[in-house]
């Protein structure tokens, strides 16, 4: 029985990663077609995000994400239709009703907290949410994510410091893809691992292979247990690859060599996980084809649905500055 359940979970992880990838690729197509002015990708981060999500309890735990977290959103329960409504800035976009740029995810019913564009400002919010949960005695773990470039921000330091002082049930999840737009990690910090810094805050820091969904899941499970037992925060650094340019407005060929880009493709987390599941004989050609067909239908449905959905009414532009 247990093995069956585990197998189902392993397949579900694959489905989520492949769905995120397919949805992401569709976004770029819509961008090229001139239908979506802005795209920012999760490609290369799928394993890190799905591995993390599997250790969390949707609707109970709180998610304070950043713009790369498409796979995390899907894993927590945001639907492909909702994602596409955001991409096309439609009125019913749950993140912001088309007010923010795409990928500034928020979903109140799923405890996914709205974040902005200045990098790192969300990390103090996660600490405040964890503080509130601790004060209330609620069984809630707060997860927040950011890139390694963003780990240079003062807000990230201040947040980790307070979380360490108060032993808050929060997980700091750094998705390290080696670049902050064009600036490589070696120009960003004097340490090799962002997780080394955890020591300075009095809680554990671990670095995992962020292209290995099972390794991430294991580290996250330990961090969630720690948080729930009242032992405080954990910093997890997931070493990822950024398989696309920073965003649709960037051209990474101006700062990454063809060789580097080629080497990176060998670390594609969706491919490697698929290969793993095949080698374990959990998936075969037929099963994979079935999953991919289902995903294709979902992505098509989400695209058509969002394209037909209404845009925001311009007369709503002044609403919700204050409570009404």
């Amino acid at each position: 029985m247990k093995q069956e359940r585990d197998q189902a979970q392993l397949i579900e992880m694959f489905r989520l990663m492949a769905l995120a990838r397919a949805l992401d690729e569709r976004m770029w197509q819509l961008n090229r077609q001139g239908k979506a002015p802005f795209v920012i990708s999760c490609q290369g981060h799928e394993a890190a995000q799905v591995g993390a999500a599997m250790a969390l309890r949707p609707k109970q735990d709180w998610i304070v994400p950043y713009y790369r977290d498409l796979a995390m959103m899907l894993a927590i329960g945001v639907t492909p239709r909702e994602v596409m409504l955001g991409l096309l800035a439609k009125a019913d976009d749950p993140s912001s009703g088309g007010r923010q740029m795409p990928a500034h995810y928020s979903h109140r019913a799923l405890n996914i907290v709205s974040h902005s564009s200045p990098t790192g400002t969300q990390v103090p919010h996660a600490v405040g949410i964890a503080l509130a949960a601790q004060m209330r005695g609620d069984d809630v773990v707060t997860w927040t994510s950011f890139g390694e470039g963003t780990s240079s921000q003062g807000d990230v330091h201040e947040a980790m410091n307070l979380a360490g002082v108060m032993k808050l049930p929060v997980i700091f999840f750094c998705e390290n893809n080696g670049y902050a737009i064009s600036v490589p990690q070696r120009k960003q910090m004097g340490v090799e691992n962002v997780s080394d810094r955890a020591q300075g805050y009095g809680f554990p820091g671990v670095t995992v292979d962020g292209t290995n969904v099972l390794e991430v899941y294991e580290a996250m499970t330990a961090a969630v247990d720690r948080a729930r037992q009242g032992h405080g925060p954990t910093l997890i650094e997931a070493k990822c690859v950024r398989l696309t340019a920073h965003s649709s407005d960037d051209n990474d060929r101006t700062y990454r060599s063809a060789d580097d880009l080629k080497a990176m493709k060998t670390r594609d987390p969706v491919h490697s996980y698929e290969a793993y599941l095949r080698s374990e004989e959990i998936l075969d050609d037929a099963k994979i084809a079935g999953i991919r067909d289902e995903i294709k239908a979902q992505v098509n449905d989400a695209t058509t649905f969002a394209e037909k959905a209404p845009l925001p009414d311009p007369l709503t532009v002044s609403r919700y500055v204050y409570a009404e």
């Binding site: 993140s95 007010r99 928020s106 990390v123 103090p124 405040g128 509130a132 004060m135």
Partner: protein
């Protein structure tokens, strides 16, 4: 009915709101056992414990940022920034995050929090313990900015701010803390956010002001009364949202107006008030919309003669008003 100074009135409001609502908590530097460097939170740590009166690390952005998160979770944080001059490390959290959360989430999220901070000068605080910061924040839609000048208003407005569903910056003039005393009812009463007060009625000229300058304006008005000049003083109490009706009604009655504030003149909060009057009461004006404010130098210097030179005083206010009524 008790006679309290401004800081005692604020302390009472904090105490009452914490007793009434266990979602309310205080976070700031030295607010705990010490009771705040001005003693505004005196006694609350002993009464409510260190979990509800939190001595934060010395880091303003996390004081505000964590309060934002807690407010989104459903708490009612009252964050203290020890001096308004030190709010700038948290500027981004206040304007990019707290103020924009409701709008950017299309009303899905809200940030019901209060940021209390002592501001203003005249206490030998020099450049970094004297600043007026309201202009930076009144510019931002999504924030409310409250600046009471009497114990009566301070208590009720702080309770209103804590109950408010949107983020409120609550400015406490530090020279008023112990200087200004007044009767505060023991029984509940309210002063709504967004309503100005006619601090003194008059017929020849209006002064639109707030904070310490309200008291200086009333002093000037008393001096001028002896010269048969009748001055009306409007204490705005809330800077955003601005009570336009009360301001315009006063100007339409007296036909002359001085906008008075302690901050640097250029681009100060009073510039907006002056612009509104010029636009909406132009036909009623019998003279130019005058402004009197702090000097356009980086901030208030320490040494007494320099500090006095910076600030509008009752004498300078009276001189300006004499000229204005002559116009």
């Amino acid at each position: 009915m008790a006679e309290l100074n401004l800081l005692e009135a604020i302390n009472r409001a904090l105490d009452e709101s914490m007793a009434a609502d266990d979602r309310v908590f205080i976070i700031g530097e030295d607010v705990g056992q010490r009771g705040g460097v001005f003693r505004v939170t005196d006694g609350l740590h002993a009464k409510y414990g260190e979990k509800r009166v939190i001595d934060a690390p010395l880091a303003e952005s996390i004081i505000i940022g964590s309060s934002i998160g807690a407010a989104m979770y459903g708490m009612r944080p009252v964050a203290e920034i020890q001096f308004a001059d030190f709010i700038f490390p948290a500027f981004n959290q206040i304007i990019s995050e707290a103020a924009r959360m409701r709008y950017r989430s299309n009303n899905a999220w809200e940030v019901p929090m209060v940021i209390r901070t002592p501001y203003g000068g005249g206490i030998h605080g020099a450049l970094y313990h004297s600043q007026s910061i309201e202009a930076f924040f009144t510019h931002i839609p999504g924030l409310k900015v409250v600046a009471p000048s009497t114990p009566y208003d301070a208590k009720a407005l702080l309770l209103a701010s804590i109950a408010d569903p949107d983020p409120v910056l609550f400015l406490e003039h530090k020279k008023c803390y112990r200087l200004i005393k007044g009767f505060v009812p023991d029984e509940p009463y309210t002063v709504p956010i967004g309503v100005a007060d006619v601090a003194r009625t008059g017929s020849d000229v209006s002064v639109i002001t707030y904070g310490l300058m309200r008291h200086y304006a009333v002093e000037a008005a008393e001096m001028l009364a002896k010269e048969d000049i009748s001055v009306e003083v409007i204490d705005l109490r809330t800077l955003r949202p601005l009570d336009r009706e009360t301001v315009l009604a006063s100007v339409k009655k007296t036909n002359k107006v001085l906008v008075l504030y302690e901050d640097n003149l250029f681009g100060g909060y009073g510039a907006e008030v002056a612009a509104i009057i010029a636009q909406d009461a132009f036909e009623y004006l019998d003279g130019p919309v005058q402004r009197l404010a702090g000097l356009d130098i980086p901030a208030m210097p320490y040494s007494a003669p320099l500090e006095n030179e910076f600030l509008p005083t009752p004498e300078k206010i009276a001189d300006t008003l004499r000229d204005l009524v002559q116009y």
